[in-house]
C-alpha cells in the first residue's frame, strides 16, 4: 500500500526546515557588508549616486527577508513557491536580470555616444588639417 502524502504538511515542513539561525546571521552580515561597500564606493567617488538605488534596494531586501523569517515565508506564499530557498534564488535572478538590463541600456547609449564623439574628433582633425594647410 502506498503511503499517502499530505501536501500542506510537506509544504510546512519545507518552510520550517529553512529557518536556521546561521542563515539569518549570514543574510544580516551580508546585507550590512553590501550596504557598507556601496556607501564607501560612493564616498570615494568610484560609484555614482545614480547607480545606488538598485543596490541599496537589494541590501535592504536581504536584511528584511533574512532577519524576519515570516516575511520570507509570506513572499514565498505570494509567489506560489514551495521553499523559501527557491524564493531567494528567484529574487536573486530578478535582481541580476534587472541590473544586466540596466547596464545593457547604459552600454548601448555609451556606444552610440562614443561613435558620435569619434566622428566629431575626426571631422575636427580634418578641419584643423585643412586650416593649417591653407595657412
Amino acid at each position: 500500500m502506498q503511503p499517502s502524502i499530505d501536501a500542506e504538511a510537506l509544504r510546512l515542513l519545507f518552510e520550517q526546515q529553512a529557518n536556521s539561525s546561521s542563515a539569518r546571521v549570514v543574510a544580516f552580515v551580508g546585507s550590512l557588508v553590501l550596504a557598507g561597500t556601496i556607501l564607501e564606493l560612493v564616498r570615494r567617488r568610484r560609484l555614482r549616486e545614480e547607480f545606488t538605488p538598485l543596490w541599496m534596494t537589494a541590501a535592504i531586501a536581504i536584511l528584511v527577508l533574512g532577519s524576519y523569517y515570516p516575511s520570507l515565508v509570506a513572499v514565498t506564499r505570494l509567489l506560489g513557491a514551495w521553499t523559501p530557498s527557491s524564493t531567494v534564488f528567484f529574487l536573486g535572478l530578478v535582481f541580476l536580470t534587472g541590473i544586466s538590463l540596466s547596464y545593457a541600456v547604459r552600454l548601448s547609449k555609451l556606444s552610440t555616444q562614443m561613435k558620435v564623439l569619434a566622428q566629431e574628433v575626426a571631422l575636427l582633425k580634418s578641419a584643423a588639417a585643412a586650416g593649417s594647410d591653407g595657412a
Binding site: E49, E50, P53, Q113, V116, L117
Partner: protein, 235 residues
C-alpha cells in the same frame, strides 16, 4: 585687460528664447556670454551666435550639469574672475546676474545663490517639490550649519576659485546642487544668498517632477551625507 565676468547659459532646444536671453544678459551685465548648446536639434546655437554669444556645442546631449561644467572649464581656461550661471528659458532676470556677481567682484563672497523664496515673491512651486526643498534645507542646516532658504536655486554666481573646484573630480556626476554647499562650506568658501525675482513662463518645465522628486530627494540626501564624510578639498 583680463576679462572679469562670464555668463554661462546651458541650453537644450531653446531656439525660441535664447537670443532674447543672450541679448538681455549682455546689456544688463556687460559680461561676456557663453551659451553651451547641449546637443540641441533645433537652431539654438545659431540664434545664440547671432545674438552675440560665444557658443560651445556638445556633439550630443550630456545633461544640464555637464553643460555647466563645460562652461566652467571655458571660464577657467580664459581666466574669468566671476561666472554667473543662468537658465536659457528666460525665467532668470539677467539684472539679478549682475547683482549676484557684485559681492564676488568685491571679494566679499565666493558663491552667491539667488533665492526665489521671500515675502512678496510671486514664484510658486508644486507642494511635493517645495517639500523636497524644505527637506534639503533642513539637512543642509543640520549637516553643515548653513541656512540657505533656497539651496536648489540654479541662479548662482561663482568665484574663480569655486569654478576651478568645479572643474575637478569634486564636481557631481550630474549637476551641482545643495550637496555642493556642504563641500564648499567645509573648504572654507564664503556662501551668500540674495533675493531674486523669477519671471513667469507659461510652458515652464522642471527637471524634477512626479517620482523624479523622490529619486532626487534620495540622491541629494545620499550625496550630502557623503560630502560630510569626504575630506575638505580646495584647489
Amino acid at each position: 585687460m583680463q576679462p572679469r565676468g562670464l555668463i554661462v547659459i546651458p541650453a537644450f532646444n531653446e531656439e525660441g528664447m535664447i537670443a532674447h536671453v543672450v541679448a538681455a544678459a549682455t546689456v544688463q551685465t556687460g559680461f561676456d556670454v557663453l551659451v553651451v548648446d547641449d546637443g540641441s536639434s533645433d537652431r539654438t546655437a545659431e540664434r545664440a551666435r547671432g545674438a552675440g554669444a560665444g557658443v560651445v556645442t556638445h556633439p550630443f546631449n550630456l545633461g544640464y550639469g555637464c553643460a555647466l561644467q563645460t562652461g566652467y572649464r571655458y571660464a577657467h581656461r580664459h581666466g574669468y574672475e566671476v561666472v554667473v550661471q543662468i537658465d536659457a528659458d528666460g525665467q532668470h532676470d539677467p539684472a539679478d546676474a549682475a547683482r549676484l556677481a557684485d559681492p564676488i567682484l568685491r571679494g566679499e563672497a565666493d558663491i552667491v545663490v539667488g533665492c526665489r523664496f521671500f515675502s512678496g515673491s510671486s514664484y510658486t512651486m508644486p507642494p511635493l517639490r517645495r517639500l523636497g526643498v524644505q527637506w534639503l534645507r533642513f539637512l543642509l542646516r543640520s549637516l553643515s550649519g548653513i541656512d540657505l532658504r533656497d539651496p536648489t536655486s540654479g541662479l548662482q554666481a561663482l568665484s574663480a576659485s569655486v569654478v576651478r573646484l568645479y572643474t575637478s573630480e569634486a564636481f557631481p556626476s550630474d549637476y551641482p546642487d545643495a550637496d555642493m554647499f556642504v563641500l564648499l562650506q567645509k573648504a572654507g568658501y564664503r556662501i551668500r544668498e540674495l533675493e531674486v525675482r523669477m519671471k513667469e513662463r507659461n510652458d515652464a518645465r522642471s527637471m524634477h517632477a512626479g517620482i523624479g522628486v523622490l529619486y532626487y530627494s534620495y540622491k541629494m540626501t545620499l550625496a550630502m551625507i557623503m560630502n560630510v564624510l569626504r575630506p575638505a578639498q580646495r584647489p
